[in-house]
Symmetry: C2
Subunit: 232 residues, 2 copies
Amino acid sequence: MEENSTFCKGCSCTESSIFKTLSSDDLDFIDQSRINNSYKKGDVLYREGNRIMGCYCVMSGILKIYKTGNDGKEQIIAFARKGDITGYRSVLSNEPACTTAEVIEDASICYIPASAMFSFVKKNSDFALSLMQLTCKELNQANCFIKDIAQKTVRERLAEVLIMLDDTFGTDNDGYLSISLTREELSNIVGTATESVIRLLSDLKSDKIIAISGKKIKINDKKLLNKISNSY
Amino acid sequence: MEENSTFCKGCSCTESSIFKTLSSDDLDFIDQSRINNSYKKGDVLYREGNRIMGCYCVMSGILKIYKTGNDGKEQIIAFARKGDITGYRSVLSNEPACTTAEVIEDASICYIPASAMFSFVKKNSDFALSLMQLTCKELNQANCFIKDIAQKTVRERLAEVLIMLDDTFGTDNDGYLSISLTREELSNIVGTATESVIRLLSDLKSDKIIAISGKKIKINDKKLLNKISNSY
DNA sequence: CGGTATATTGAGTGTCTTCAATCTCAGTGG
DNA sequence: CCACTGAGATTGAAGACACTCAATATACCG
């Protein structure tokens, strides 16, 4: 990752993450306590129910954050990408992880011990406030999702998810969504059966609203997709 | 409310709420800045999208916290009762309210200005931490709910909600759930049509798992209900 | 004692799920 | 180079679950 310095101070994650409120000294402190590791697709950072002693800052790559249902079906709650922090909920509350974090695109991730997090919260109220605001933002997103999943049809939710993926991860040179998900993973975000996702994608394709090339999806008519998602 | 002092220090809410980490001086400060008001069923404390300049601490009564869907249908996200704080998310993030808070049982509620909240966060890291943990707890609950609503049947969710209502609000002398909700409100928690709730309640009644007397519901066999909810 | 809000019931329908079979494709080893 | 293998994608058929619409009943409020 050439663009990232080997120190937090120069790391591009620092500016975009909650750590932007930290002082130079604090960043030095993280540098001394953090551990950077590489992860491959399929690697699990932490699993629902397990205790973790620190949180993770993503430098590159993508994680899916999910809860597992009774029957083993995953429900994807969120993604984490460059600059995102995950695992902090369990650290702050000193509780077992309530989600599983799994790598879906090879990643470089810094581990930051709980002690450092607590130390910053204690001595830097701006940091505490940013962290709180981050949690509040996620809480709001979760609440929106509850409303959508409860009130919208699968078709509407799929459209919404496609737009979200476009907004969050962007597209490659050919206009295809940068993030690569299996149909099953898509269904685990939308909250439906894999076959339903396939059929609905196929419908959207027939209507020329999206294009599909193998696993890759391209949004042709975002405006129409947005209309289908019934957002406001 | 005889059991509550006219001061925060003696208020029974203080011990059970996040304010328990505040010093005696801080509590005096709240006393000077807070405003206590009475509200009637149907009153709206704040509405989704509106700006609020403070948060609310419930001394008595019950609020429903909900988001409104495109078609006007409410999705109830949470309830607030004695000792609960609401509105703090918008205050901390300085954003418009993302939910509506409406009284469903006559309430006595203290308004606490944003300035006081910020002041405490700044000077009391324990308070900041409690607030963070509260948010994290709500976030976890929201994520659980997302998984449930995405993966469980309406029947399972209804059973789960009934158990939640029992756990949260308890029962009256005859064993009926203390909280009184319309069928529509129930459906707005479960995330389904009102008629579905009615039919499923009727089924549960036939199976003797619950009893219904007008609007009141009594849980006869909580163990079985728990089994139906498919929780783990 | 109206009048309105809420609750209930029935019928019909559509969305979505489930199950099973088939297909595609990338990776592997002979 | 090609068959083999397994994971993922696709399609079809059948049926369950839940929703909508409409009519009616009941309860609650002033």
